[in-house]
Subunit: 338 residues, 2 copies
Amino acid sequence: MKRRTTINDIAKELNITAATVSRALSNHPEISAKTKKTVQEAAKRLDYTQNQIASSLRSGKTHVIGVMIPTAEHPFFGSVIHGISNLASKNGYAVLIYQSNESYDYEVQGIKTFIGARVDGIIASLSKETSDYTHFLDAKKRNIPIVFFDRVNDDLGIPCVVIDDYQGAYFATEHLIKQGYRRIGHISGPQYIKAFNERLKGYVSALQANQIPFDPALVYQGNISIEAGKAGTRHLLSLESAPDAIFTVEDFTALGVLKELKEQSITVPGQFGLFGFSNELFSAHTSPALTTIDQQTVPMGEESFTLLHTMMETGRTDTMKIILDPIPIIRESALPKH
Amino acid sequence: MKRRTTINDIAKELNITAATVSRALSNHPEISAKTKKTVQEAAKRLDYTQNQIASSLRSGKTHVIGVMIPTAEHPFFGSVIHGISNLASKNGYAVLIYQSNESYDYEVQGIKTFIGARVDGIIASLSKETSDYTHFLDAKKRNIPIVFFDRVNDDLGIPCVVIDDYQGAYFATEHLIKQGYRRIGHISGPQYIKAFNERLKGYVSALQANQIPFDPALVYQGNISIEAGKAGTRHLLSLESAPDAIFTVEDFTALGVLKELKEQSITVPGQFGLFGFSNELFSAHTSPALTTIDQQTVPMGEESFTLLHTMMETGRTDTMKIILDPIPIIRESALPKH
DNA sequence: CTGAAAGCGCTTACAG
DNA sequence: CTGAAAGCGCTTACAG
């Protein structure tokens, strides 16, 4: 096991000091072009790579950011990471990943890991279990900039990036109305998750703005799953005045609706309209293809990094909130009623 | 900006030396229980977290591994990362992520980043562009253990984890035969990718083992896309003696086949059989649902980490290869012919 | 059981 | 333009 070459090796080789080598390699303005050249050549010849660990210890900057996600198994988070990681690389930052697996304890553990690793900043999406935020406040107290995305908390003075769930739901509901559907049901998700609550609000507002009275009986409380979509559909169709369209809180639920309607031989679209939310990978490939709302996952990651980057470089700590537009993806399931 | 507390602060507070604090915190056997207790209390009181950077510089171990993937946007890699990251956390390792974005240059850049960060080991899946491997050999020369997964190279003496593509394809083809299909076509992918070549071989072997002569005319060369599935289907159906079943190299291709057959009003299954490969997230939700081969993504990540872990802890360098079983997922698209 | 001392590989304020 | 020196926060061989 050969020892790796250091700036001291290069210094010895060239009969100069390590300080000069260090400055030459970091392109310090006061070093002569000639010295830079010989140092760079020697570095190459001796197969030198800078030890970031030593550099970090001395400079106090690691150029590493920590990214906390519920799980890398969900394509949504993979996609956000894609956005974060590409911009991070481009700006000279490495990305440390930690999964909470939707567990509060793991999330706390992950933040501890980030603090121990002396990351320069943290980007995080909260676990479902999290309702105590001291671990984040702890990181904040240590002057580590934090940005939340998607699953955020507004009360901590922590900047965040989200999409406008209210507007997305409003658009979806109004779109169904414009396509000629008149009684529009909603299959919702757990209301303690803010995004789902916002979507419910957008649904209600769109109805009222279009002179359709809001009927609470048309809202089914699901748990974001195919099964919830099926059960919700069965329930809504059993009502005395059943809906002729459904807006679902997300696409797995919409998929369940689609399956149930197929079993009941109800035609989508035309006879019945369906609008989902989240634009999952399967949504383009159901039949009929799902009309839904895209959540801008890659831009969400990019905006999160950009925000964090600003905070890391400038030391700004004011609370910024970036709200991305929801993007309607018009496919087949909400084509006009006939 | 308060300075973070160090072992020196604790030492001063307790009138002992930093060495003792360090030993107490790392639970050194020769330190008295009493000292350990007071140190731990002081550490808690002063809100101490160990500086891993300093520890790494001194000990030469970072307890960080680097994971190189083509892109986090593909759920396959997200899922593998899930497996890697969970085991890594459990074993006290942090995970640094780098995306090659299928580019050779970025891949080289990523390995440089890993070397600079002094990672203790590397797990990687090759970019499509990569045919020169000096960057990996360079890392290996620096005694950084490496494990390849899925997109591997067998000629470098680098351990790897893959699934048995040959066996998976063999199973798929034979399954179609057992279900009563007789002329089985194959829509393949680029042959320079080893996995795709293996799947072709498995297909051929299964035919021959079942006394069905291999007809090269029934193999369509695609590029793993929905469009390739459609085009391949059109081509195969135009043949004088068209197939009554297709085995596709992966599920997007299978989805294309499904769409084309639907357009031509050919019934799947029964009239026509279809077997995919890779078990994408959408595959359970097409109609009919796709029968396919699961690639064991999470176990692949876990096995990769376990292998790397062994190498990091024991210094073993012999070339190990782990071949995971392909898991048949029997759904609807390959139900018996009638 | 604990201390004194050296050193991991850098960076940077100070000096010339 | 370059050098000498100190120090980032730990760990560990050596000594007692």
